[in-house]
């Protein structure tokens, strides 16, 4: 196995990797050997999905009262987790679409995993609007379907925009993900046999790798990337408008769209780091996920993290500057009130800890990055919790103030949602090549050069 040394930090792949065949072998071997750890994780994830199903079932049967929600806190950890997962979903498209258009070559090794993460994160996020409904069985009323009573959704409601934004994002990111995987599916097909081969054959759409196919593929990919790019900005802007369009003090702020988009990319990249570190380790992908990749992702984290931190400070400033008591008191309460811990977790994890990424030594330490990325994930979840819960609990009418405590059912569903995500992600790394084989080959050093060098040495 190749090891990374100090001098190799700048490379996109390990210099030892020289042949295309080796790439195929290394990546496709992941699909063939499940390993003990995979089974343990998969078992845990499946159990977690069971917890999700049970908790949700309990809530459906007994009522949404199974949550800890109350009046005035009508939204709690469900919407928090919804926004969290939508945020996570951002980096995939960002890495595969925007960075593709900008020709950032370091994306090649990570984009497949990031895209898969996007699709599964949207699938997870999409559960929550259903779960949090008082009457989930009527959720389809939010869709504009023709009916004999001429009833339509209220197009002024940000929740309806949400429906469109999230479903569009899910559709586009799934297609993008699938399209990009076709050459790799074909590679997998060529190695596989039996039932797997049949499935890959079907999924690869008869890909043969001809010039003509590559030509069309490249064009399609480019166009889809161009189409997906605005979505990266739009989805989380729309999600932020769920809050910004309301008049709740602490929500009603024009800064929300850029603030949420930055936060989404921040959390999404952090999640990519969190996921790719163990994959790299478990499947021995050190050759393809080099320090250079992590360095680039850390820089992205740093930039977006600073934007987010700036947004926090501006929010506090604007609350003070507004001179209005409801606004000021919400922010005062965030810092020193009942939910101070949530706010401080958010500030420390998202504002202060990522400052360490200024240091190259930190950026080049995989272990440090892993730890920081976990902190960012935690911090970003609490950011949404802080925004949603502290604002609702201290609104305009002081006599109606109240606090909210998540119930066991909610905890079960939140934990279950992580398991649900893990469940799909674990399946993904066993079924699809988690690293884009075809694109990796583009960044390999030209094989003949390496051979020449070796020959010269002889």
């Amino acid at each position: 196995m190749a090891t990374v040394t100090e001098t190799e930090r700048g490379a996109l792949t390990h210099p030892d990797v020289t042949s295309h065949a080796e790439v195929n072998e290394d990546v496709l071997s992941i699909l063939s050997r499940p390993g003990k750890w995979w089974w343990i994780l998969f078992g845990l994830a499946s159990a977690g999905v069971g917890v999700l199903a049970f908790s949700w079932g309990y809530q459906l049967i007994f009522g949404i009262g199974a949550t800890g929600l109350n009046s005035p806190v009508g939204w709690g950890v469900y919407i928090t987790t919804f926004v969290f997962w939508v945020g996570i979903a951002h980096s995939g498209t960002l890495i595969s679409a925007i960075l593709f258009l900008f020709r950032a070559r370091w994306r090649q090794s990570i984009y497949r995993a990031a895209e898969a993460m996007t699709v599964f994160a949207v699938m997870t996020a999409g559960l929550f609007p259903l779960i949090h409904l008082g009457r989930a069985w009527h959720a389809y009323w939010l869709f504009p379907y023709p009916n004999e009573r001429l009833l339509w959704p209220n197009f002024r409601s940000p929740l309806v925009w949400d429906v469109f934004a999230v479903t569009t994002y899910f559709t586009v990111s799934s297609i993008f993900f699938y399209l990009g995987s076709i050459p790799d599916l074909a590679a997998a097909r060529d190695k596989a046999r039996g039932l797997r081969r049949k499935l890959y054959e079907f999924a690869a759409l008869g890909w043969r790798g001809t010039d003509r196919e590559w030509h069309h593929f490249g064009k399609a990919y480019l166009f889809l990337a161009a189409l997906a790019t605005p979505l990266v900005l739009s989805v989380h802007s729309v999600v932020s408008w769920d809050f910004a369009m309301a008049i709740v003090p602490g929500w009603h702020a024009t800064i929300f769209a850029p603030y949420f988009v930055a936060g989404a990319i921040f959390s999404g990249v952090a999640m990519v780091i969190t996921l790719s570190v163990p994959i790299r380790k478990i499947f021995g992908l050190e050759k393809y996920l080099t320090v250079r990749h992590f360095d680039a992702m850390a820089k992205l984290c740093l930039v977006t993290g600073l934007i987010v931190f700036y947004a926090y400070l501006i929010e506090f400033f604007m609350a003070w500057y507004s001179g209005e008591d409801p606004e000021r008191r919400v922010f005062w309460n965030r810092l020193w009130g009942h939910y101070w811990w949530s706010t401080w977790i958010m500030l420390i994890c998202n504002g202060f800890i990522p400052i360490m990424l200024w240091f190259r030594r930190v950026r080049h330490s995989i272990a440090a990055l892993f730890v920081i990325s976990i902190f960012i994930n935690i911090g970003m979840w609490f950011e949404r919790y802080t925004i949603i819960v502290t604002s609702l609990s201290h609104e305009f009418m002081p006599f109606a103030w109240n606090v909210y405590r998540p119930s066991l059912t909610e905890m079960g569903i939140i934990l279950g949602s992580f398991a649900w995500f893990a469940f799909w992600f674990l399946l993904f790394i066993r079924i699809l090549p988690p690293v884009a084989i075809s694109e990796l080959k583009e960044v390999l050093p030209a094989p003949y050069r390496a051979r020449k060098k070796q020959e010269g040495e002889r």
Partner: protein, 1003 residues
């Protein structure tokens, strides 16, 4: 909903989720078959309500009531506007009478104790048994009964005369000292009535006249008319002298926090000041010389100048002093009541605001001393048969009274009751009585006022009950005594022959008269009032000094007061009342100990800390609620909790404060002493969160409940609305342009720009609430709950903040100081859906469940709601409530009360105040049927109908003649938060008016 998850539930959940896909929607499981009337009854038209006039049986004030019945079921009670006492209003307890009627825990059949267990028997057997035992006992029998109607009382009297047994009247909240004081002062053995409306300066020496004292609904109306600011800017003043601000005290303009027990000396000192300034004290002139302001002030712990200033004001204008009330019945209570009556007499109030010649005839003034004698007789074995009717002495007497032990000593004990209460549990024979809404009866609250209580429906079939009057007649007949009639209905009619003879309608036949009385609910006969007497020399020596209290000097005095929700506790099994946040503490479902906030801080206890309260007579444990409105040397505990029987909603809730009191009769009135002991309060280290609806009682710097000083009132209408501020807001951008001067009738409706509605012909529903009149009594909350099928949610849900009331009676402290006399400023704000013209809830609903009607209401379409709760999040007033569970599934027959005109909401939908849209539509339909338009102020929502203070006015603001349009221009009118967030509410509030300077919020 269940507290824990049971095995069966687990399997249900696991099974459903195991199947995976949720299978929802149509189910044939719960379909009931609807069968039309084969032979329709003559007097029932499906879908049309029938109203009956009757009398409220929930407290001795016996207000007149109208009962709305639908398809033979009583669904709503309202005040009878032609009743001279209650004048159309009703309190929360009155509304809850329906829950007494449909209480599933009512006694279902006669029961006899056999081998230690109560088993059901038939009525024939039960009556035979009672007659047999009564016959065998001869005169060794006791009938202990509560306050009942005039004819029933007389019938019971006749029964006891026939059997030769004892008859004792017992009422836990009896006004015996007031009655004795009136006798001493004026030579009349009556309870006087008090006219709050005529008073310009009212002093209350602790009497909670807006809550439980005598006739609270009548008092509230008069009080609000007196102290509510008029359009000209006039306002009567109210000073509360007492150790704890009850709800009545919270309505005061000034609080003089006197030491408990010092009422008499304070009242006499004020009287002395007035008498020195020329007031006529009659035979009390000499007595008054012994009381001067300085020493009285010293005893009461207040400055003497306060008393002198009060005296000067009190003599100058029509005034009224009342007190000290049931909670203040201490060992010198007769003297204290006498002192207050003397004060009134010196100030010339007798005949003006105090009416001895028009006494309160229904007030219970029974002496506890009689009950004490009965207990002694039972203990001595002199009683063979004891019958208890309409009272629950085992619960409501002090634990040390030994009533329970004495009762157990009686060989045959009979309880006649609707509820299986503590006394019935101890009985050998339990006879289920009819609820007042199912039975005949009558009442005469004032001279010349005679009201009939008539059954408004067939008896609820779940309970095999019999009217007590019928049972008395039947048992008497079995004993060989003929009391005149076969049924109590005939007996009642017979006794009304005499009233008929005196009435104006004497010339017409009795049947026509009787039908008229049944329709109106009452008859008034002029000229039955007596002349007002003057002061008499006292015929016995009384001590006016503060009484002694049991316990150590340094410990706080325990003030046990009647609950404004449960009275003496007999109404505790009604979820509406249990869930109604107490008007003072805002706590529901359990008891609390009121401790002064500063004292609590010094003791190191916080809200919700469980303390052990111990007197020399008993001890209880309960959580603390810290309250700035109580003196540091006093702690307070409400009656009504701690039931061991009565029903599922009452049992085990709270504590019974009577367990801490001695069993002692005051001399000379014989009234039960309530304010008698000091207690020790120690922390147990445990906690119990308070089920309160109070978030913060401070309104910070927000335009929520502003006030205005009376001197700042001009008496001129408001020339314009908040136009300037709104225009300024709009200039900042982000708002839809509002071409309005900020007047509510001009607010453009959503869609108006598309020509959707015609502003000329469409009504625009609006409300005005006068915060200077609102007393915070919460009658509107229960009225709304009854009208609109609002379920209760239970203590655990209230604790989570999930109560479903459509009206939240907010209470903000602006100035409360228990350490010295000074202004009290406590603001009440009934917060309900504001039906905003620019409603934040409407645009955010993804499915149009929240939308604006053409007549200006913010409607909620329950069937369309999917439960995103976004509207509630975006509602700045926080008036939207959510059905977290299937709260509307309530036990049979409680669900008989549901109003068929209002949807019963399912789980998972949002709801809120609808401005009683069903009533608006009902009036509109009626107008259409009659071929006319709606009349001005024709529509009256449930809250307005009930409000004893007349604080709520509803109507069409586009109609220039309507009261609401008029009030919207009042100089005190404002709209909550409107200037901050431009919501353009349809509810106009009129500022509270204070006598002290107030700070204006800044915008």
């Amino acid at each position: 909903m269940s507290d824990g998850i049971k095995r069966r539930d687990f399997l249900k959940v696991a099974g459903t989720t195991g199947v995976g896909a949720g299978m929802f929607g149509c189910s044939t499981e719960n379909v009931e078959r609807l069968i039309p009337y084969v032979v329709p009854p003559d007097d029932i038209t499906p879908g049309v309500a029938t109203w009956y006039a009757t009398v409220c049986g929930e407290c001795p004030s016996q207000c007149g009531m109208w009962v709305r019945t639908r398809e033979g079921r009583a669904v709503k009670v309202e005040g009878n506007p032609s009743h001279p006492v209650s004048q159309g209003a009703l309190c929360s307890r009155g509304h809850s009478t329906l829950q007494g009627l449909y209480d599933p825990d009512r006694v279902s059949a006669p029961m006899q104790r056999q081998n230690g267990e109560l088993v059901e028997i038939g009525w024939e057997e039960a009556e035979n048994l009672l007659a047999e035992r009564l016959g065998a006992s001869g005169p060794a029998n006791l009938l202990l009964h509560g306050r009942s109607g005039a004819s029933l009382s007389r019938l019971m009297e006749e029964l006891q005369e026939a059997t030769g047994g004892r008859r004792v009247e017992y009422d836990a909240l009896a006004q015996a000292p007031l009655r004795e004081a009136t006798r001493v002062a004026f030579g009349r053995d009556v309870v006087p009535t008090f006219d709050f409306e005529a008073s310009r300066l009212t002093l209350s020496f602790g009497a909670d006249f807006l809550e439980t004292w005598l006739s609270p609904v009548e008092h509230a109306r008069g009080f609000a008319r007196s102290t509510g600011a008029t359009e000209e800017g006039e306002k009567g003043r109210f000073v509360f002298l007492g150790s704890r601000l009850s709800l009545t005290g919270q309505n005061a303009d000034e609080w003089v926090p006197i030491r408990p027990g010092s009422e008499a000396v304070v009242a006499l000192a004020i009287a002395r000041e007035i008498s020195d300034a020329g007031g006529d004290a009659g035979p009390y002139q000499e007595l008054l010389q012994g009381y001067d302001a300085a020493s009285a002030a010293e005893l009461a712990g207040i400055p003497a100048e306060t008393l002198q200033a009060l005296a000067a004001d009190f003599a100058q204008q029509p005034s009224l002093a009342v007190g000290p009330g049931v909670a203040g019945q201490h060992r010198h209570a007769t003297a204290a009541n006498l002192a207050v009556l003397v004060l009134n007499a010196v100030a010339g109030n007798v005949g003006q605001t105090v009416h001895v010649g028009r006494p309160d005839r229904t007030a219970s003034a029974a002496a506890f001393a009689d009950t004490e004698d009965a207990i002694a007789a039972m203990q001595a074995g002199e009683i063979e048969v004891a019958v208890v009717h309409g009272a629950n002495p085992v619960y409501s007497l002090p634990g040390t009274s030994a009533f329970a032990e004495a009762f157990a000593n009686v060989p045959f004990k009979v309880a006649v009751t609707t509820q299986m209460d503590e006394t019935a549990r101890a009985a050998d024979l339990v006879l289920p009585d009819r609820h007042p809404l199912e039975a005949w009866g009558d009442s005469s609250p004032r001279p010349g006022v005679y009201a009939v209580q008539q059954p408004v429906m067939q008896p609820v079939p779940h309970f095999d009950s019999r009217p007590w009057g019928d049972v008395v007649l039947s048992v008497a007949r079995r004993l060989g005594h003929d009391l005149g009639e076969d049924t109590f209905h005939d007996y009642l009619r017979a006794s009304w022959q005499e009233i008929h003879g005196r009435s104006d309608e004497a010339a017409a036949g009795f049947d026509a008269f009787w039908r008229g009385v049944l329709r109106r609910g009452l008859v008034e006969i002029a000229g039955e009032e007596e002349a007002e007497p003057s002061l008499q020399a006292p015929d016995r020596a009384l001590t006016f000094e503060p009484p002694a209290f049991d316990g150590d000097e340094g410990d706080p005095v325990l003030l046990v007061h009647p609950s404004s929700r449960f009275g003496d506790g007999s109404l505790a099994n009604r979820p509406w009342l249990q869930e109604l946040p107490d008007p003072v503490s805002k706590i529901a479902w359990h008891s609390w100990l009121e401790v002064n906030s500063e004292r609590a801080t010094a003791m190191g206890i916080r809200n919700g800390d469980i303390v052990r309260v111990r007197s020399s007579h008993g001890e209880v444990e309960l959580p603390v609620w810290t309250y700035p409105g109580i003196r540091e040397d006093t702690v307070a505990l409400a009656m009504g909790g701690g039931h061991e029987a009565l029903g599922r909603w009452a049992e085990g809730r709270g504590v019974n404060p009577m367990r801490l009191l001695p069993s002692e009769a005051e001399q000379p009135s014989g009234g039960l002493v309530h304010l008698s002991t000091r207690v020790t309060v120690e922390s147990t280290g445990r906690r119990r969160p308070l089920a309160t609806i109070e978030g913060s009682s401070e309104q910070f710097d927000r335009p929520i409940a502003p006030a205005v000083q009376v001197d700042a009132l001009t008496g001129e209408p408001q020339p314009e609305g908040d136009g300037e501020r709104l225009h300024e807001l709009q200039a900042l951008g982000g708002f839809a342009p509002v071409p309005t001067d900020g007047l509510p009738e001009d607010y453009p409706l959503p869609g108006a720009q598309y020509g959707e509605y015609d502003p000329e012909t469409t009504a625009r529903w609006s409300m005005a609430i006068d915060l200077d009149k609102c007393t915070g009594c919460s009658a509107c909350v229960t009225a709304c709950q009854a009208e609109n099928n609002i379920p209760w949610v239970g203590e655990d849900q209230v604790l989570m903040g999930r109560d479903l009331h459509w009206i939240r009676l907010e209470r903000y402290y602006e100035g409360v100081d228990a350490s010295e006399p000074g202004p009290v400023d406590i603001r009440f704000l009934p917060m309900l859906c504001q039906h905003c013209g620019n409603a934040p809830c409407e645009p955010v609903c993804p499915v149009y469940a929240a939308y604006h009607t053409p007549d200006g209401m913010n409607a909620q379409v329950y069937n369309r709601c999917v439960g995103t709760r976004y509207c509630a999040n975006n509602c700045p007033y926080k008036v939207r409530v959510f059905n977290w569970y299937r709260f509307s599934e309530i036990p049979e027959p409680m669900n008989w009360q549901y109003n068929p005109d209002v949807t019963v909401r399912a789980e998972g939908v949002m709801e809120k105040c609808s401005f009683c849209v069903q009533r608006i539509r009902e009036r509109e339909n009626q107008a259409t049927l009659e071929g006319r338009g709606l009349q001005t102020d024709e529509v009256v929502p449930a809250c307005q109908q009930s409000c004893p203070a007349e604080a709520i006015v509803f109507g069409n603001i586009r109609d220039p003649d309507s009261r609401v349009a008029h009030l919207a221009r009042n100089e005190r009118t404002y709209r909550v938060l409107d200037v901050l967030i431009n919501t353009q509410p349809a509810v106009n509030y009129l500022r509270k008016v204070t006598f002290h300077p107030v700070t204006e919020f800044h915008v």
